[in-house]
């Protein structure tokens, strides 16, 4: 099997924090094949906006055939999604990308802002000791309680209104979080700092990247990042985030 484009049906939509929504889609053909760290391309109904909106899988329910997407309203497309109610039909392609490798080691899962949702999917999928470090803007700690079902959670907030004031690395240091493998998703400056932290401390590290996408399946070469090694596809130093990623071993990519 492989990715498909299907018409999914919205099962529920809920606001988790200002501008952050959780939408559950019935999409059995995709859910059946999906794993944590993969994403889907969601299409808007407005025909002036044709490109896909890539959204990570926050939850995968294979039995019910459902996907959970947690997203922030960032522009017109995600704003449109936030208006969908149960029953609405949506064009979705997936599952896309490689997903996180599931290592059998004590894991630190780090999510920053709208990078938090995919870490929840991973938190559920891992089957070893794991701890989450979540970075928020303010005290609207969306999804935090759901992480707590699977392990300890440290929080950092930019405004200091909850947990450690500062970023996720501040929270790691403040709480003495330790582990043998790091998985991270969030803004590029955060990932850059985590990559350096992991290298310094000799910790295996996987990061999930973002870039503008057109095809979502590796054909158009829009979404590349610079890779250390010559990539197998284009024979240069450009890995495709949509196909070769979005998850990369930190040392594999220049960010």
């Amino acid at each position: 099997m492989a990715q498909v484009k299907i018409e999914a049906v919205v099962k529920s939509q809920e606001m988790l924090a200002d501008g952050v929504y959780s939408m559950v889609l019935s999409a059995p053909e995709i859910a059946r094949q999906a794993k944590a760290g993969q994403f889907v391309s969601v299409y808007t109904k407005d025909s002036s906006r044709l490109l896909p909106r890539p959204i990570s899988l926050c939850g995968i329910d294979k039995e019910k055939g459902e996907l959970r997407l947690v997203y922030r309203v960032a522009g017109a497309g995600t704003e449109e999604f936030s208006r969908y109610e149960a029953g609405e039909k949506v064009q979705v392609m997936g599952p896309l990308g490689n997903g996180f490798p599931l290592k059998e080691k004590k894991a630190i899962l780090i999510g920053g802002g709208i990078g938090i949702p995919p870490m929840l999917g991973l938190m559920k999928a891992l089957d070893c000791e794991r701890t989450a470090v979540l970075g928020y803007r303010d005290s609207q700690l969306f999804l935090k309680d759901e992480f707590e079902a699977f392990g300890p959670v440290s929080v950092a907030t930019e405004d200091g209104s909850a947990g450690t004031k500062g970023n996720v690395l501040d929270a790691i240091r403040a709480n003495g979080v330790e582990g043998a493998v790091i998985y991270a998703c969030g803004p590029t400056p955060m990932l850059r700092a985590i990559k350096a932290y992991a290298a310094e401390n000799g910790i295996e590290c996987y990061i999930s990247l973002e870039e503008r996408m057109a095809c979502g399946i590796g054909a158009c070469l829009a979404c590349v990042c610079q890779s250390k090694e010559v990539d197998h596809h284009s024979n240069v130093h450009n890995k495709r985030i949509c196909k070769d990623g979005p998850v990369f071993a930190a040392e594999e990519v220049e960010i």
Binding site: L50, A214, A219
Partner: protein, 300 residues
């Protein structure tokens, strides 16, 4: 019902092909689309050596379309010949290799390397707006168009399709120049040069500042140019620019195209190409068109 068309002696089972750069070499879309159903697969542009392309962001969404400044990233002709041609050879479809270069010599080198491969046709991209050297610089000057066409033809074993830029005052001048240089067919249009500015960040949306504009929004310009070119030269024309439905494809055939390429539409509908094949057949059925060739240039 006969859906076959012929381009420079090469018979396609139907007039629907992919547009270069939007379909890789077919492998990625092959997971969703039966490549055997396509008239031809046109590959991403390939140069004599690997090209890294432009910095990101390489694409931006615009009203009814997109801008791209991929910058012709490609693995170079060696990897291409070893990997992509054998892949495509597995399918019952024609192989059209899109060729790019910075100098005439680059083009010639690629064309020569392709001579003893299974490529059925060569499409020479002299109209990419996203690279500093080569590309559009060749495609906006009729003398350069004629010269490079002649040089490529001298070295090519396969028939040569020249791919023209719409960023010109008069497309018929370019079409005639390619014809004079010995082209066997024309492809048009490549992308229009466009720009988008992010007013909140006050920056260009693309790292490259400008990009190639494609998608449904450009169709009226493309149809007009196909019509003009078809009425100016005797070469078969592969029409493209905004085709996303069978209706769009038929519009290009009626304007004078012998075949059509589907580009940006693949990104919002990966099944676009085969849906278009089906839709053309449905149209022929509905209007009792026995042979798709009856449609070519039928509106004058």
């Amino acid at each position: 019902m006969d859906t076959r068309v012929t381009i420079a002696g090469v018979e396609l089972k139907n007039p629907v092909m992919t547009a270069s750069g939007t379909f890789g070499s077919g492998a990625e879309y092959g997971e969703m689309v039966d490549l055997n159903r396509l008239g031809a697969v046109v590959t991403k542009g390939v140069a004599n050596v690997p090209w890294p392309g432009n910095p990101t962001p390489r694409i931006a969404e615009v009203y009814g379309g997109m801008l791209n400044a991929i910058g012709l990233q490609n693995p170079g002709i060696d990897v291409f010949v070893e990997r992509d041609i054998p892949f495509l050879k597995q399918y019952d479809t024609k192989i059209i290799v899109n060729v790019c270069g910075k100098t005439t010599e680059d083009y010639v080198e690629v064309v020569e390397r392709l001579g003893d491969t299974a490529a059925d046709l060569l499409e020479i991209n002299i109209s990419c707006p996203n690279v500093k050297e080569g590309g559009i610089a060749f495609g906006q000057d009729p003398k350069a168009v004629e010269a490079i066409t002649r040089e490529v033809k001298r070295h090519a074993k396969q028939p040569v399709i020249m791919k023209l830029s719409p960023n010109v005052t008069d497309i018929t001048v370019m079409a005639k120049a390619a014809e004079a240089g010995g082209a066997d067919a024309l492809s048009l249009i490549n992308t229009l040069t466009g720009m988008k500015i992010d007013i909140h960040r006050r920056t260009f949306a693309l790292a490259n500042k400008t990009g190639g504009f494609s998608g449904p929004a450009v169709k009226p310009v493309a149809v007009r140019m196909v019509y003009q070119a078809a009425n100016a030269v005797r070469l078969p024309i592969i029409g493209m620019g905004g085709i996303s439905t069978a209706e769009d494809a038929i519009e290009f055939l009626l304007a004078g195209a012998t075949a059509v390429s589907v580009g940006t539409a693949n990104f919002f509908n990966p099944y676009a190409t085969t849906e278009i094949v089906d839709g053309i057949e449905a149209y022929m059925e509905r209007y009792g068109v026995e042979d798709v060739k009856e449609l070519i240039g039928a509106v004058k």
